[in-house]
């Protein structure tokens, strides 16, 4: 074989690997130069705004601690939870955290588990931000309009705040966005459709409540498929997605924990509890409902993204491609008025779609290339950005500049310095991993969320020496009766911060037993 006989593409094979990579990278950069000039600065700013100050803001809440303890347990003990796994959430979220930790030694690299969780959320946030851009492009937005959606999603104080907490929703968002990106693939191939279904299954395995968004994804996929191969694409995609999703109930079945029964947790039992028995948060339409209070808290962080997104829903009438996106957002809002349980972090599910619809409004106004419409669209975009520029910095600044250590972290450090390692501690979930992994308390501290809910904990409970929980726990008998009882036989030995989020370390009398 001589050089002359080779096809041009084969010439590359003669080059060194390094040279080939270099050429490939150059080509990639050339092809995406425009995208990168818009997206790269946004991603840099996103990483900075979300990353700077994340170790001191916001305060520690319990769910991140629970998920991180489960990721820790997976890595170091090979089980899905340090306690009896309760099926309260599908496990893909902390499996991903555990994988990242196994790859990068996450729990040892940081001086607190929450710090490691923050890093995971930062990565997920940046990836989601890039995917919002990609999805904007797939919806037909110009780079600048897609950039607008990306900025709104990335830098809204609401998104930064909730995006910093280690919530499963933050890990599910990239999968969900990826599912839509693939569902709207211009190739309309079976592969893209299957990818969309698999990503959606991952999203649902990360946060099972996202299953309610299935109609929106299915609609997007349906709209984007060619009638000639629609049946094949949908069948294969649905089959693949269902198969991946089925792993979860199959896992439960394998463990004999799918169906309810005496003496063990069950997937269906927990699902019934989640769906039917959890205390309702009330409807958004009812004044003084917990839902309304939560909503007010969200609005206090940012009105623009939430209300702007809702106000932009009607633009879907003018742009068919936006309709599944609008449906996603509408489902999210309907959950808030249905008078059922709405979790604290539900807002995370609303944010990317709100950003895309606001940008979608700009896109629709721009319409064809007529000059006056482009001008009007630009004016709209400028107004949106101006509102953001006026209202956001004041909210973002404290998130990035607070230097006070979170009260729970301060309490944790005090405990590590002052409490003998063999004492029995009941602790807030957020510091459990650190006390076990870093400070080696033995016997292991008891997570306050498990104190009264895990029968195995109650069975083994013979003594409690210290309590390390936020103040609101001890005054709230419904939180944990055993904790409230222990508190009656204890004195504070150190306190950090004031009010219900203040943390007091209590020492329980040696002569009391639960």
């Amino acid at each position: 074989m001589t050089l002359a006989n080779l096809a041009p593409t084969d010439v590359r094979q003669l080059l060194s690997v390094r040279r080939r990579l270099l050429i490939g990278a150059q080509e990639w950069l050339r092809r995406h130069a425009h995208t990168l000039t818009v997206l790269a600065p946004i991603l840099v700013v996103t990483a900075l705004v979300r990353g700077i100050g994340m170790s001191t803001f916001p305060r520690y809440v319990d769910d991140p601690g629970t998920y991180l303890s489960q990721a820790w347990s997976l890595q170091y003990e090979g089980t899905l939870s340090p306690y009896s796994y309760f099926y309260d959430h599908a496990p893909a979220g902390w499996i991903q955290i555990a994988l990242w930790s196994m790859l990068t030694d996450g729990f040892d690299r940081h001086d607190s588990a929450i710090g490691f969780g923050n890093e995971c959320m930062l990565i997920a946030g940046v990836v989601s931000t890039a995917l919002v851009f990609a999805l904007g492009r797939r919806l037909g937005f110009s780079r600048w309009v897609a950039g607008l959606a990306t900025v709104l999603f990335a830098l809204s104080p609401l998104a930064v705040l909730y995006g910093r907490w280690t919530f499963l929703d933050n890990l599910a968002t990239p999968w969900l966005l990826a599912a839509f990106v693939l569902a709207l693939s211009p190739k309309r191939s079976i592969l893209a459709g299957t990818g969309a279904a698999l990503c959606f299954a991952m999203a649902a395995l990360t946060k099972e409540t996202l299953l309610v968004l299935l109609p929106a994804l299915a609609w997007a996929l349906w709209r984007n498929t060619d009638p000639r191969n629609r049946a094949q694409v949908l069948t294969v995609a649905a089959g693949a997605g269902a198969l991946l999703m089925a792993l979860y109930p199959l896992f439960a079945l394998f463990k004999g924990e799918l169906f309810e029964g005496p003496g063990h947790n069950s997937l269906l039992g927990t699902a019934a509890w989640q769906l039917a028995e959890r205390e309702s948060s009330g409807s958004l339409l009812t004044a003084d409902s917990p839902m309304r209070d939560l909503f007010s808290d969200w609005l206090a962080q940012d009105k623009l993204l939430l209300l702007g997104g809702l106000a932009s829903v009607p633009v879907a009438v003018f742009a068919g491609r936006l309709r599944p996106i609008a449906l996603t957002l509408v489902i999210g809002w309907l959950l808030m008025v249905r008078d059922g349980y709405v979790p604290f972090m539900h807002v995370i599910t609303l944010l990317p779609w709100s950003a895309l619809l606001i940008a979608g409004a700009v896109h629709v106004v721009a319409g064809s290339d007529r000059r006056w419409r482009v001008g009007a669209a630009a004016a709209l975009a400028v107004v949106v950005l101006a509102v953001a520029a006026i209202t956001w910095p004041g909210r973002l600044a404290p998130m990035m500049t607070t230097r006070d250590v979170p009260t729970m972290r301060a309490a944790e450090l005090w405990v590590a310095d002052n409490v003998p390692r063999d004492k029995v501690l009941v602790v807030h979930d957020s510091i459990w991993v650190d006390l076990v992994h870093r400070y080696r308390f033995e016997p292991r501290p008891i997570m306050v969320s498990k104190l009264d809910t895990d029968p195995a904990v109650q069975e083994r409970l013979t003594r409690i020496d210290y309590l390390v929980v936020p103040e609101w726990y001890v005054g709230n008998p419904s939180a944990s009766p055993t904790l409230v009882e222990a508190h009656k036989h204890a004195v504070p030995v150190a306190s950090f911060g004031d009010g219900s989020d203040g943390v007091r370390v209590y020492r329980v009398s040696r002569y009391w037993s639960p």
Binding site: L43, V44, L122, I123, V126, T407, K488, V491
Partner: protein
């Protein structure tokens, strides 16, 4: 996956910005320091006051059956300025006998939480009163049980805590042994009581008193006292066993007659300074048996009431049978 290289760069930038956390929040309260314990009861004999109402009744009426009460050392209550006037004689008496005098300071402003005319008119007057007590005791070192019910009461607040803290300081600095009343095992929880005792300056006191004027059993009082002692730097405690021989009357929320001069009650264990259980300084008779709980249960005053004394003796397990029979037969004058 196109993003991977860019991402890595951003993460490095962010990691570079992060600095090690600084603990800006310092714990409050700071670690407490407790005064060294003096153990005043160790090897001490308790002072027996022969000049009591019960003694005068016994002498006047020839009521020898009152012996179990009049022959047992009891605390002396100081409820007012006039009561302090008797202290120099008691102090002198106790010193000559070489026995330990136990006093009860019960004159805190608004001591019952319902009437500001009860107790000293204000915190300043109270401190002056404590000062007069110190003076009256002179060089005699006595045990002072501080202010029954003041700590567990609902009207306990920062002012009351500060008043008690100052008074404890004055007494301890003058060499007196202070036991701050903590309530009893079925009132406030040990945790809440501990917080209040700490607020009121227990670190400087010798310890606390349990079950004063109440009828909880000694075992239950000890269990509660031990729990509490662990929460307040292992301060020791005394238990009032004057009237707990039958334990607490049945708890009937509709009827509070039961706790006030109940029909069924008995003298408890005799005072003991053996301190034979960890944390326990002494068993004392702090409430004077036979004194009425107030206008209830057939009584009209707070003073000595022979019928109450008789009930206590008749039911007391440790009193010999002839004395109990004599008490039962006695016609009350």
């Amino acid at each position: 996956m196109r993003l991977a290289p860019t991402l890595a760069v951003f993460l490095m930038v962010v990691a570079g910005c992060a600095s090690p956390a600084e603990t800006t929040l310092h714990p409050d309260p700071p670690a407490r320091t407790y005064a060294a314990l003096q153990h005043p009861f160790r090897g001490a004999s308790l002072y027996l006051d022969r000049d009591s109402t019960a003694q005068r009744y016994e002498t006047a009426q020839g009521a020898a059956w009152l012996g179990p009460i009049t022959g047992t050392p009891q605390a002396r209550w100081l409820n007012s300025a006039q009561d302090v006037a008797a202290v120099p004689r008691l102090a002198e008496d106790a010193r000559q006998q070489g026995s330990l005098l136990v006093l009860v300071a019960y004159n805190l402003p608004n001591r019952g939480c319902t009437d500001h005319r009860e107790g000293a008119p204000d915190p300043e007057a109270y401190q002056r009163w404590i000062g007069s007590l110190v003076k009256a005791l002179g060089g005699t070192r006595a045990v002072v049980v501080m202010e029954p019910d003041a700590v567990p009461a609902d009207c306990f607040d920062a002012t009351r805590a500060a008043t008690l803290r100052q008074a404890i300081g004055t007494l301890v600095d003058a060499g007196q042994y202070v036991y701050l009343d903590a309530g009893h095992s079925h009132w406030k929880s040990s945790g809440e009581t501990a917080e209040r005792l700490l607020a009121a300056g227990i670190e400087k006191a010798e310890g606390f008193a349990v079950n004063v004027s109440n009828r909880q059993t000694t075992d239950d009082s000890y269990r509660w006292g031990r729990e509490l002692s662990d929460l307040v730097g292992d301060r020791e405690f005394v238990i009032d066993t004057s009237r707990n021989g039958l334990g607490p009357p049945p708890d009937d929320p509709k009827d509070d007659k039961e706790w006030c001069n109940p029909a069924k009650q008995a003298l408890g264990q005799r005072p003991s300074t053996a301190g034979d259980r960890p944390g326990l300084a002494a068993l004392l008779w702090i409430k004077r048996p036979g004194e009425s709980d107030g206008p209830c249960g057939g009584e009209t005053t707070y003073f000595f009431a022979p019928r109450q004394a008789r009930n206590l003796i008749v039911n007391a397990a440790w009193v010999d049978a002839p004395t109990r029979a004599a008490a039962g037969r006695s016609a009350l004058g």
